[in-house]
């Protein structure tokens, strides 16, 4: 161990530098530049970074298009983000930091935990609306979460879209749910069963696995005994889906395997290798490479970024677009940018064209956009390709 060679001046200089660092970033008065601020607790590192990086780029790109086009009534939207590593405390710290420095009207949150934690503060401030990466059913309640929304269907609605597709394809089909033992995984299971009952589908098995489990051989045997026509995975990103599907296929199972939004990125499904072929799932947005229908906004994205962009990117892009539309409607109505006015502006969205990102015109009567389409992975094209029409709930 070596003793540190310090002199008093160095120590004092170091202390002063640290103090400067602390107070140099202390609260700045919100500058009235006419800019509207979109703050973000974004998971650029940690377990959700695979989506966070795309979300970050998507928000930036939409705002670039908007601001380059003159903004909203001449007012630009400024994006101020912080990395959260997908930790609730870091997300709240980022929220406090950004709202201390800026007058925030729009906010992007990174998790269900954060959305629930910050909700009382959003209500107390009443100055902004928030959306985020969570599609938790619990958040789709305008009474409990009056200033929040999600740019797509909630998890139960995703199950609803999948089950409607199944009921149409094979009435009375046998369906199994495989989900992780987390809040995320359990979210749509009970309401999903109710929807299945309504659609006269048979839920033959529900298998719960620890999150990120690798050895699933006993669960696969259980699934084989149940012999479902369709198996829906939820609460995972990748593992243990490839292992599950590969083992089930080896056992000769003919079940059709399906997933929900966060499993559905093209590169994620590709990583399932042999298990990927025929894998299906629900997507609220078009994929980066989709060519069907009128897709002017997708064309713009492809011009801006020639390489494939993830579903997380689309989610960030669409969220920023819907937030901007809420601002536009609020300003058009001559109202102040408060949380309640912005939410009312958002809820006034009816048959809105997102430039082809959603395949159909959308409405947001509550906190979600209950629209989606079933895609199926084509191993030859190495792409998720449409397997159904757009389904509106």
């Amino acid at each position: 161990m070596t003793d540190t060679q310090l002199n008093r001046r160095q120590v004092l200089a170091g202390t002063a530098a640290l103090a400067g660092m602390a107070f140099g970033v202390s609260p700045l008065a919100a500058q009235e530049t006419g800019e509207i601020v979109l703050g973000g607790s974004i998971p650029l590192t940690g377990v959700f970074a695979f989506a966070g990086i795309g979300i970050h780029a998507g928000i930036q790109d939409y705002l670039k298009i908007l601001n380059d086009g003159g903004g909203i009534k001449g007012r630009k939207i400024k994006y101020v983000a912080e990395d959260t590593a997908y930790k609730v405390d870091a997300s709240v710290a980022a929220f406090n930091k950004i709202t201390s420095q800026e007058k925030v009207s729009l906010y992007y949150g990174d998790s269900t935990g954060f959305s629930k934690t910050i909700n009382p503060e959003l209500d107390r401030r009443g100055s902004m609306i928030m959306a985020g990466a969570s599609f938790a059913t619990e958040l789709n309640d305008p009474k409990k979460f009056p200033l929040q929304f999600m740019a797509g269907p909630d998890y139960t609605e995703m199950f609803g879209i999948l089950l409607r597709y199944i009921a149409k394809e094979k009435p009375g089909a046998r369906v199994a749910f495989v989900y992780s033992d987390t809040e995320f995984g359990r979210d749509p299971i009970v309401p999903g069963e109710a929807v299945a009952k309504e659609l006269k589908l048979n839920i033959v098995e529900k298998i719960v696995t620890p999150p990120g489990s690798v050895d699933v051989s006993t669960e696969v045997l259980k699934l084989r005994r149940a012999n479902p026509d369709f198996t829906i995975f939820h609460g995972y990103v990748l593992a243990p889906i490839p292992e599950f599907v590969a083992q089930a296929k080896q056992m000769g199972m003919k079940s059709q395997f399906m997933g929900t939004f966060w499993t559905m990125d093209n590169s994620t499904v590709q990583r399932m290798d042999a298990a990927a072929d025929g894998f299906m799932g629900v997507m609220p947005y078009r994929y980066y490479y989709d060519k069907d229908g009128s897709v002017p906004m997708l064309e713009k994205i492809r011009q801006m970024r020639p390489e494939y962009q993830s579903t997380g990117y689309m989610q960030g892009f669409v969220t920023a677009m819907l937030m901007a539309e809420a601002v536009k409607r609020t300003l058009d109505a001559g109202k102040e940018l408060t949380g309640a006015n912005l939410k009312a502006g958002l809820n006034s969205i009816k048959d809105f064209d997102t430039g082809g990102l959603f395949g159909v015109p959308i409405s947001i009567p509550g906190n979600s956009v209950p629209v989606g389409r079933i895609y199926r992975f084509d191993a030859k094209a190495k792409q998720m390709l449409p397997a159904s029409d757009w389904i509106k709930l």
């Binding site: 161990m1 070596t2 003793d3 540190t4 310090l6 008093r8 120590v11 660092m21 602390a22 970033v25 202390s26 609260p27 650029l44 590192t45 970074a49 990086i53 970050h56 780029a57 930036q60 983000a81 912080e82 990395d83 590593a85 609730v88 405390d89 870091a90 709240v92 710290a93 406090n96 930091k97 709202t99 201390s100 935990g113 629930k116 934690t117 009382p120 107390r124 619990e138 033992d181 987390t182 809040e183 995984g185 359990r186 979210d187």
Partner: protein, 346 residues
């Protein structure tokens, strides 16, 4: 230059703060802590509260691991006991928050004693595994019990005192900071008692301690109880701070965080627990400012530097372990010695 500290009584020799300079600095620190909420933004207040909660929990773990030598990876689980207890009491009974905090901490202490029972037979890594097992059991219980809201957890109302709601970082600071200060002071004083000396004797050599007449079972379980009490209280404060408690609020990685905090800070010193918890909480946040400063020059510095930041944080921890295994507390001691001896060098 300080040339010596004359002590003329055993009381003075045992004093926590043994010089007038130290006491003066402590008064300045206390004044700074009182003035802080009036000058700091909600962001810094939030971080101060978070640091205080982590200091409280790390101090508890330091008593168990640093002073008694019992390695535990269950600190986050004990925190969850306190947090859930507080949330359930606040939601169901609406009892006063101080009572809730104490009940939560007491419950965590009871669970701590149960988890600590294997410590009589197993030590080191084996004990760490036993505490992990306890964490898994508690996690399972909380995520499947209707009382604790199952997987969705509990959202609770804020603490209130005579109708005054304590829900903002400014008001929470006046709850969290004094409680943490009392806890740290309590821990420091505990180590001057028979109990504290028994802990240290057990850590240094448990067989010798038993030969000296220290009942191992009683003191090991006492250590677990006190440590879990601290964790439970910290968990309760955490619950009032965030007001949402879910099974995912206290993952195993948080237990590793507290263990890392006391190792980086310096095991077996009260100051080490404080410095380590503050370091582990603040450094990842402070590193973010590098990206903020670079943004005007390089617009996407945030995304580009995010992974680098994680690596730098990891590197700093490894660096401390290599260059100062005795932790931040030892560095602090050297800095103090430098000032004591100035203008002479050691």
């Amino acid at each position: 230059m300080r040339i010596g500290t004359l002590k003329t009584s055993y009381g003075a020799d045992e004093a926590l703060f043994d010089s007038s300079v130290q006491r003066g600095l402590l008064v300045l620190l206390a004044l700074g802590a009182v003035a802080f909420p009036f000058v700091a933004s909600p962001y810094w207040l939030f971080l101060a509260c978070l640091c205080a909660i982590n200091v409280a929990s790390a101090t508890g773990l330091n008593l168990l691991t640093g002073y008694t030598g019992l390695v535990s990876l269950g600190q986050a689980a004990f925190m969850s006991v306190g947090a859930y207890a507080v949330a359930v009491l606040e939601i169901r009974l609406g009892t006063p928050f101080l009572l809730n905090l104490l009940i939560g901490a007491a419950l965590a202490a009871v669970i701590g004693i149960l988890v600590g029972i294997p410590s009589l037979r197993v030590k080191g890594l084996y004990l760490a595994i036993a505490t992990i097992a306890a964490s898994v059991i508690l996690h399972f219980l909380f995520s499947h019990w209707s009382l604790t809201g199952e997987a969705r957890g509990l959202s609770m109302p804020p603490a209130s005192l005579f109708g005054y709601v304590i829900d903002q970082p400014f008001t929470l600071y006046w709850l969290i900071m004094p409680v943490t200060c009392l806890m740290v002071l309590g821990a420091a004083n505990l180590l001057r008692t028979r109990i504290g000396r028994a802990f240290i004797a057990i850590r240094d050599r448990d067989i010798s301690a038993e030969v000296l007449g220290i009942p191992l079972l009683r003191y090991k379980l006492t250590s677990f109880a006190i440590s879990s009490f601290y964790a439970g209280l910290a968990g309760g404060l955490w619950a009032y701070f965030f007001r949402v408690v879910t099974p995912e609020s206290f993952p195993l990685v948080n237990s590793i965080f507290y263990l890392a905090a006391i190792i980086v800070g310096g095991m077996g010193t009260i100051l080490g627990g404080i410095l380590g918890a503050v370091f582990m909480t603040l450094v990842p946040e402070l590193l973010k400012f590098a990206a903020n400063w670079l943004t005007p020059i390089y617009p996407d510095a945030l995304a580009a530097l995010a992974p680098v930041r994680t690596i730098v944080f990891g590197g700093l921890i490894v660096g401390f372990l290599i260059f100062e295994p005795r932790g931040l507390a030892e560095i602090w001691r050297r800095v103090r010695r430098f000032f004591h001896l100035w203008p002479f060098r050691t």
